[in-house]
């Protein structure tokens, strides 16, 4: 999966924050905060080909049922697409 925006990942006292740089500042002028699952997915986005691989990674990492893993992953990716990050 390809991240289309220029964003620098920061960790501040346990919070994962994405800082926009370059032309991204004009489109998304502000910080993005990721929750734990968001950070987990973000760190794997560019190394996977599809959503299914992410869902399997979530199932391997968290004690969660498959339906929840699918819904949470889909919602996160949908949010990124809406913001044209993905």
């Amino acid at each position: 999966m390809k991240i289309r925006k220029e964003l620098i990942r920061r960790e501040i006292a346990g919070d994962v924050i994405l800082v926009p740089v370059g032309g991204t500042v004009l489109e998304n002028n502000g910080l993005f905060a990721l929750n734990e699952l968001g950070a987990f997915l973000w760190d794997r986005l560019e190394s996977v080909e599809d959503e299914e691989t992410l869902v399997q990674a979530v199932l391997a990492e968290y004690e969660v049922d498959e339906a929840t893993a699918r819904t949470d992953t889909a919602q996160f990716l949908q949010k990124l697409r809406e913001m044209e990050i993905l």
Partner: protein, 373 residues
């Protein structure tokens, strides 16, 4: 014109977390004391010669080392300021370097150099915000106040930034030199669709004028109050002004004069708690208006300097007289105001006391006049 300038929720959250954990969330980097303007009320400006005589500015590498150390401790917001930061030939070495560290940058500038190649570089990789000081509403006022008739140029530069979608906010310092221009400045802000942060209070410039506490090239307390109310009258609708006047009146009436506490309050803002100020020559202060407490990160290391700054800031107490004052909720006094007005953090800043009382009186009078119309 944008009327509010509300901080994003995430910034408030990060500062709250930083306060609890003792982290430097924001840094102010005063890259130079030099400036291509020469404003009489400036608290920083020195000539090239004066800067050289005082040991020179930090190098770009030194700024980047401090930024990296601060970033490693949690800093995510930084303000690049001066003087005029864009007079540094190596400005973009610092700017680009700090961006690569993942720091969200804003810039204080007089706006006069934001054209040509400099403008192009900013349009390709903008800061999160430019805070541009607008000093007047005509070339003549600019010449009188800053020594350069560049009003039209500055306005053109702001227009170019706005056209590209760059976030711009205006800072307005109301002084004896530009008091007559505030309506024009308001019209400019509306035309440019930018927020204006105005102040008719000028801190005494103790950093450049030695220990001349309580004095400066500024309006009298009563004139400053009238100017502040005049600005409110320009920018607020009748209803907004009425609400402001009502709030002000209630804040005074609901807090009648009482017995002062035995000790004054501590520092209420973020200075020295989750933010720091680095001067052009490498001193770390809680706030750029102060001259103490001072620590030197290049000598003792960033972590030790930040720790020392926090401890020294926590020990600051403002005047105990203020704790029992009916006007405390409408008064803008802070530790830096007390210090620059009196030379002591616990010294009562009588200029501000007069200005606050006159602001309340003048606001009520202006409301009565508006309601009569």
């Amino acid at each position: 014109m944008q009327k509010s300038n509300i901080e994003p929720q995430i910034a408030t959250y990060l500062h709250a977390k930083g306060r609890r954990l003792g982290l430097p969330i924001a840094g102010n980097f005063e890259l130079t004391a030099r400036c291509n303007f020469n404003c009489p009320m400036c608290y920083v400006h020195l000539s090239d010669e004066q800067v050289r005589q005082q040991g020179g500015e930090l190098t770009a590498q030194q700024w980047l080392q401090i930024a990296k150390d601060a970033r490693d401790r949690g800093m995510i917001f930084a303000l690049l300021t001066g003087g005029e930061p864009l007079v540094r030939r190596d400005f973009f070495e610092i700017y680009d370097g700090m961006k690569k560290l993942g720091i969200l940058l804003s810039i204080n500038s007089n706006g006069s150099l934001l054209r040509g190649e400099i403008l192009e570089r900013f349009l390709a990789d903008p800061p999160s915000r430019f805070n541009i000081s607008l000093y007047g509403g005509s070339n003549a006022t600019y010449e009188k106040m800053c020594g350069r008739p560049v009003y039209a140029q500055v306005k053109e530069n702001i227009r170019a930034l706005r056209k590209a979608g760059v976030d711009v906010s205006l800072n307005l310092s109301i002084t004896p030199y530009n008091l007559q221009d505030i309506e024009q400045i308001y019209r400019d802000a509306v035309e440019l669709d930018v927020n204006v942060k105005a102040s008719s209070y000028m801190y005494p410039s103790i950093r450049v004028n030695g220990e001349q506490y309580g004095s400066g090239n500024r309006l009298s307390a009563e004139e400053a109050a009238a100017a502040g109310v005049a600005w409110d009258a320009i920018r607020f609708s009748d209803e907004e002004f009425r609400q402001r006047a009502e709030n002000m009146k209630n804040l005074v009436m609901n807090n009648p004069d009482g017995c002062p506490m035995e000790e004054g309050e501590g520092v209420r803002c973020r200075a020295g708690t989750t933010s720091f100020w680095m001067t052009w020559d490498g001193r770390m202060l809680p706030c750029g208006m102060m001259t103490e407490p001072v620590v030197r990160p290049l000598e003792v290391g960033f972590d030790a300097a930040w720790q020392q700054l926090r401890e020294a800031t926590a020990a600051i107490r403002t005047p105990k007289e203020c704790t029992g004052c009916a006007y405390k909720e409408v008064c803008g006094a802070c530790a830096a105001v007390c210090y620059t007005e009196t030379g002591r953090f616990d010294g009562q800043p009588t200029y501000i006391c007069r200005k606050t009382k006159e602001t309340v009186r003048c606001t009520a009078q202006t409301l009565a006049e508006r309601e009569k119309r």
